[in-house]
């Protein structure tokens, strides 16, 4: 990690977005209290996570990127096991219902599918009724429909008033879920803001058309004026602009630009 600075507001969904190996998990594990840091200041719910101990862990919920749960226990037993660690746990059956595992309540962990296991991870992260939830790549390896379901779940968490810190290497996930996003690359935050803000730092709008054999691409900050001139001229000359399109940059373009760009250091 070389320079990470961000603040997450209460009730906000904050996304840490970046390619594999960018430092997302390291950042989150420092915040969760798993790793010490070489330097800098970190506060989670007003406490240094490395020294926060049990009192802090009462207030946070953790979904690790890869961890297993006791394979021989049932979904309900695992929830009961973890609920017992907290002073004021939520109702187990309610949590199981919330994460959509009600029908699997009596099923052994080893019989669950990958997506169901991930929902179980989420369930035990919520069972202590945390104020702040860390989700480290919660949907990696999901099929598209399982991902939609998971997104709905994260949205319902936000409606419960939870603060969520989410890491992902899926851009659409950050765009769908996060109020604010920090793009992280090589252990450094290269951009942060709302998804809309990030598009604001985007490459220019492109106007593309075909002129005979040649593809023409115009990049501009003033698409309206350029387009008016272009089409005005074409109409005046009585010709058609083949394959005319105006392309707004997507967050993906911004993202790729940020993570593939030259090293800013």
């Amino acid at each position: 990690m070389r320079g990470i600075s961000f603040a997450v507001q209460r009730g906000e969904v904050f996304g840490l977005l970046g390619p594999n190996g960018a430092g997302k998990t390291t950042t989150v594990e420092i915040l969760e209290g798993y790793r010490s840091r070489d330097g800098g200041t970190v506060e989670v719910l007003g406490v240094d996570p490395w020294r926060g101990g049990s009192a802090l862990r009462q207030r946070i919920g953790v979904v690790l990127q890869s961890s297993e749960l006791p394979a021989a226990l049932t979904v309900r037993e695992v929830h009961r096991m973890f609920a017992g660690y907290y002073e004021r746990p939520r109702d187990i059956d309610h949590v199981i219902e919330l994460v959509g595992l009600a029908e699997k309540s009596a099923a052994r962990v080893k019989t669950l599918s990958g997506g169901q296991k991930r929902r179980l991870d989420l369930g035990i992260a919520l069972v202590g009724d945390p104020e702040l939830v860390f989700l480290d790549e919660p949907t990696t390896g999901f099929d598209p429909s399982a991902r939609r379901t998971a997104w709905e779940l994260v949205r319902s968490l936000r409606e419960l008033g939870k603060t969520i810190l989410l890491t992902t290497h899926y851009l659409d996930e950050a765009q769908q879920l996060a109020d604010r996003v920090a793009v992280i690359r090589d252990g450094k935050i290269v951009e942060q803001g709302s998804p809309a803000d990030l598009i604001g730092v985007a490459p220019k709008v492109q106007i593309r058309y075909r002129d005979g054999e040649q593809d023409v691409v115009i990049e501009t900050d003033e698409p309206t004026r350029v387009l008016a001139e272009l089409t005005g001229t074409a109409v005046a000359e009585g010709r058609e602009l083949d394959a005319l399109e105006v392309v707004r940059p997507s967050l993906e373009d911004v993202y790729l630009d940020l993570v593939d760009g030259d090293d800013p250091a």
């Binding site: 969760e32 209290g33 798993y34 101990g53 049990s54 009192a55 862990r57 009462q58 946070i60 953790v62 690790l64 890869s66 961890s67 297993e68 749960l69 006791p70 021989a72 226990l73 037993e77 096991m81 973890f82 017992g84 660690y85 907290y86 002073e87 035990i124 202590g128």
Partner: protein, 252 residues
């Protein structure tokens, strides 16, 4: 009940549920030593070291059971839990590390006590073994054995890197140790070199203590050196654990 006591009781219950629900460990850890006792008890019938063979075997296999439960079983279970991320996940909850480890220890003790009772009952009912001459001494010896071997178990957990290898590594230690320490029969005819090795092994001394209290009816304190050797091995294991024990997976 205070919060820490409630957490402790909850975790001991959880550990018990985990142990008995996991069929592989329940069979390997719990059933294996009494089963060996049944087999060996059917083979030997004379005397071993001046004691009725079945009594000597009963004591030897209680010793083996102790090493198998508190050292082998504990180390294998904890390494698997660490490498699969379960320990890390539990560390992310408010459960204090010391409460977790104490619950693991007490749960191990419960398993071993039940196993010892089963072995004892089998011996009494099937082979006409004698009852222990010094019950309180036997209980103290059991506590010493579980404490000492659990210390070694925590130490081994800290040294073993991979879940795949844990069972092989641990049994490579436990089975020869039990063999040399006389768990499975008389060691009088062993070559001198092997007897030297046996003379430094903790199980040799634990079985001596069991013989003193169970067969001879001596006080638990009869042989302080033996107690010290077992404690020293356990302490060495704890020292390694103190420095090297980790909650995070090593191989990911």
């Amino acid at each position: 009940m205070s919060t820490s006591m409630r957490l402790f009781v909850h975790e001991v219950r959880t550990q018990q549920l985990l142990f008995w629900r996991n069929r592989e460990s329940a069979i390997f850890v719990f059933v294996f030593p009494p089963m060996l006792f049944l087999l060996l008890g059917a083979v030997y019938n004379d005397k071993i070291d001046g004691f009725p063979a079945v009594d000597a075997l009963l004591v030897g296999l209680i010793g083996y059971g102790c090493a198998n439960t508190a050292f082998a079983g504990l180390a294998i279970t904890l390494v698997i839990r660490r490498e699969s991320g379960i320990l890390k996940r539990v560390r992310g909850t408010p459960l204090p590390a010391a409460t977790y480890l104490a619950a693991v220890l007490v749960s191990t003790l419960i398993v071993f006590l039940l196993q010892m009772l089963l072995t004892l009952v089998l011996g009494l009912v099937l082979y006409g073994a004698h009852t222990p001459k010094n019950w309180p001494g036997l209980v103290l010896a059991l506590l010493l054995g579980v404490g000492g071997f659990a210390g070694l178990g925590f130490g081994a957990t800290s040294l073993i890197r991979s879940a795949e290898g844990s069972s092989a590594v641990v049994n490579l230690v436990v089975l020869p140790m039990a063999f040399l320490s006389g768990s499975f029969g008389p060691t009088r005819s062993y070559p001198t070199v092997l007897q030297w090795v046996a003379d430094v092994l903790p199980l040799t001394y634990l079985i001596d203590i069991f013989k003193n209290v169970y067969l001879r009816g001596e006080s638990f304190w009869h042989d302080p050196t033996a107690i010290l050797v077992v404690l020293a091995w356990g302490g060495a294991g704890m020292l390694v654990a103190w420095r090297r024990f980790g909650w995070m997976p090593r191989e990911r």
